[in-house]
């Protein structure tokens, strides 16, 4: 792990458009990380303290099922933000996360980010608008997948 120059962090799509001063505050609590394929970022039920901005690679969010290989809920990749369970109690990961390829990320300390947002509401606003956008997009895509659009008509609860 190594500290992150603000300019590099600013290039991540999650932070695109954020004023330089605010990115600099986040850079203070960010580290660059490189993990090999197979690396487990976190386990379901584990204590959630951090989140990641994926620079490249491929990560699976999964749930373990007794007697079966773990079930992939969704995969994330370059440009995605990963991890929101750190934000609110009980601070427990809802899923596990595992690298499907060698993956480069920026890793940020959740509590430190919250502290900076508390101190600088302008940063807080910018940060949470982005977080909300990610959450909305994920919710949207979950709803679409629930529709089971590609099922043959009448096959399942789909169309």
């Amino acid at each position: 792990m190594s500290p992150v120059p603000a300019a590099e962090l600013a290039a991540h799509p999650f932070l695109r458009g954020m004023p330089d001063g605010q990115v600099a505050q986040l850079a203070e609590v960010a580290t660059a990380a490189y993990v090999p394929v197979g690396h487990r970022f976190f386990e379901e039920g584990g204590h959630a303290r951090r989140f990641w901005l994926i620079r490249d690679g491929h990560v699976a969010l999964d749930l373990s099922v007794p007697g079966q290989p773990s079930l992939i809920v969704e995969t994330l990749g370059a440009g995605d933000m990963m991890g929101v369970s750190w934000l609110s109690p009980p601070h427990e990961w809802q899923y596990g996360a595992k690298a499907l390829e060698d993956t480069r990320t920026f890793e940020l300390d959740g509590a430190a980010v919250i502290a900076r947002c508390d101190a600088d509401p302008a940063l807080g606003y910018q940060f949470f608008v982005r977080l909300m956008t990610v959450a909305t997009r994920r919710l949207h895509s979950s709803r679409i997948r629930m529709l089971d659009l590609y099922a043959a008509p009448g096959q399942t609860g789909g169309r």
């Binding site: 043959a152 008509p153 009448g154 169309r159």
Partner: protein, 417 residues
């Protein structure tokens, strides 16, 4: 292209005068020329279309009373043969039959033999074609008989048809051909056009020739050149009919009105009344939609495909695996009306309505499309007025704001952009 102004479509010769007694000679000449003669006749308390054995079968002295959801024949005070308006049927039952075989296929000995249905198309003479119905034939020609359809069964039947049109002098209560530009004077497309002149002492027809075939046929019938007086009388009777329509369609461009009315509240209103029975589509002389039926015999070696009239009011019409696209009554009535008056223009280059009024008469609950269109128009105008009002209010507000900020400082500060 033929001109459409009065007289422009007529043959250079004529017009002629034909006595009512010569009508049977005209029908006889048509029959002699190999035509099956079809025309109006009274049957089962209605004026229907049927093969005519003689001119005597024409509905002399019969008229009709038309109303939304109502049709009655009545005895006229004169002996007019064509003193009636559109009946329950139209000529499409002959040109585009309700049920016909398309092709059959045999598979035996590893062969797959498709045989197109080859019913010989009888040469038919249509006698008593109203101007609205003549336009309807033209519209179906465009959909079913031109372009890539030039070789269709429809086109083959159509090519053999001889048309004796009859101009309208006495429109019915549900007629609105004047609004649709299809009558009361017959447009191009006829071989002969009659204007009936009937009085206590006299029963004659003014005859216009519309084609060389019409001229040939008329040559076999005793006629005299019509004098200016009689011609003028006939022409003015037809012209007067234009002002006697029982209904009218709003003058607004219907194509645009329909395109802007998909979200109208009126559809819910009409859907409350509409039974989605599809009678209007069956009675309409231009409705052309069909479905198919596949049948096979017990051996499983012979199969046939039949074509049947279909209606956009049926749920199966818009079925896709999973369900029907137009599941609400609202959407099915909307489909019919917006197609007829609106998207027909986009698809086929004209309106699909000729103003014959059949859909009003044969609707079991008396839905009147002219009334529905008027309501849609009123709704559109109201929406327009509200929009204009809102825009005006907005503009006034903007102006007031601009006036308030019109200071040199603000301008210099570039706040105006």
């Amino acid at each position: 292209m033929t001109e459409t102004q009065p007289g422009g479509t007529r043959h250079a010769d004529g017009p002629f005068l034909m006595d009512v007694t010569a009508l049977s000679q005209l029908l006889g000449a048509l029959e002699a020329a190999g035509y099956q003669v079809i025309g109006p006749t009274v049957s089962d308390d209605a004026i229907i279309l049927s093969e005519l054995g003689s001119a005597a079968q024409l509905p002399f002295g019969w008229g009709v009373e038309l109303a939304p959801g109502g049709y009655r024949i009545r005895q006229r005070s004169d002996t007019a043969a064509f003193g009636h308006s559109a009946g329950p049927q139209s000529w499409k039952q002959y040109l585009h039959p309700p049920r016909e075989k398309m092709w059959s296929v045999d598979r035996s000995g590893g062969e797959f033999d498709v045989v197109p249905a080859d019913e010989p198309a009888p040469r038919r003479a249509f006698v008593g074609v109203r101007p609205c119905d003549l336009s309807a034939i033209g519209i179906q020609d465009q959909v079913l008989g031109r372009g890539e359809h030039a070789g269709s069964r429809y086109a083959a039947r159509r090519a053999g048809v001889f048309i004796v049109a009859v101009n309208c002098t006495e429109p019915g209560a549900t007629c609105f051909c004047t609004s649709m530009g299809t009558g009361p004077e017959a447009g191009p497309g006829y071989d002969l056009a009659l204007t009936e002149l009937v009085s206590d002492t006299d029963h004659k027809f003014l005859v216009d020739i519309g084609s060389p075939a019409g001229a040939d046929m008329l040559a076999q019938v005793p006629v005299t050149p019509a004098g200016d007086g009689t011609t003028g009388l006939a022409r003015s009777a037809v012209a007067q009919a234009a002002d006697q329509m029982g209904r009218s369609m709003p003058a607004d461009a219907l194509h645009g009105l329909m395109a802007g009315s998909y979200d109208a509240a009126r559809w819910d209103d009409v859907a409350q009344r509409c039974l989605t029975c599809g009678n209007c589509t069956m009675a309409c002389p231009t409705c052309f939609c069909t479905t198919v039926e596949d049948v096979s015999d017990l051996s499983g070696e012979h199969a046939e495909r039949w074509q049947l009239w279909d209606s956009c009011f049926s749920l199966s019409f818009s079925y896709l695996p999973g369900g029907s696209i137009r599941s609400s009554d609202h959407s099915r009535y909307r489909q019919w009306l917006t197609h007829k008056l609106g998207t027909w223009h986009d698809q086929f280059g004209s309106s699909g309505c000729v103003g014959c009024g059949r859909c009003i008469v044969w609707c079991p609950v008396g839905i009147d499309l002219t009334e529905e269109v008027a309501a849609l128009q009123a709704e559109a105008r109201q929406a327009e007025a509200q929009q204009a009002e809102a825009q005006q209010a907005e503009a006034q507000q903007a102006e007031a704001q601009q006036a308030g900020s019109r200071t040199p400082g603000a301008r210099a500060g570039g706040e105006q952009q």
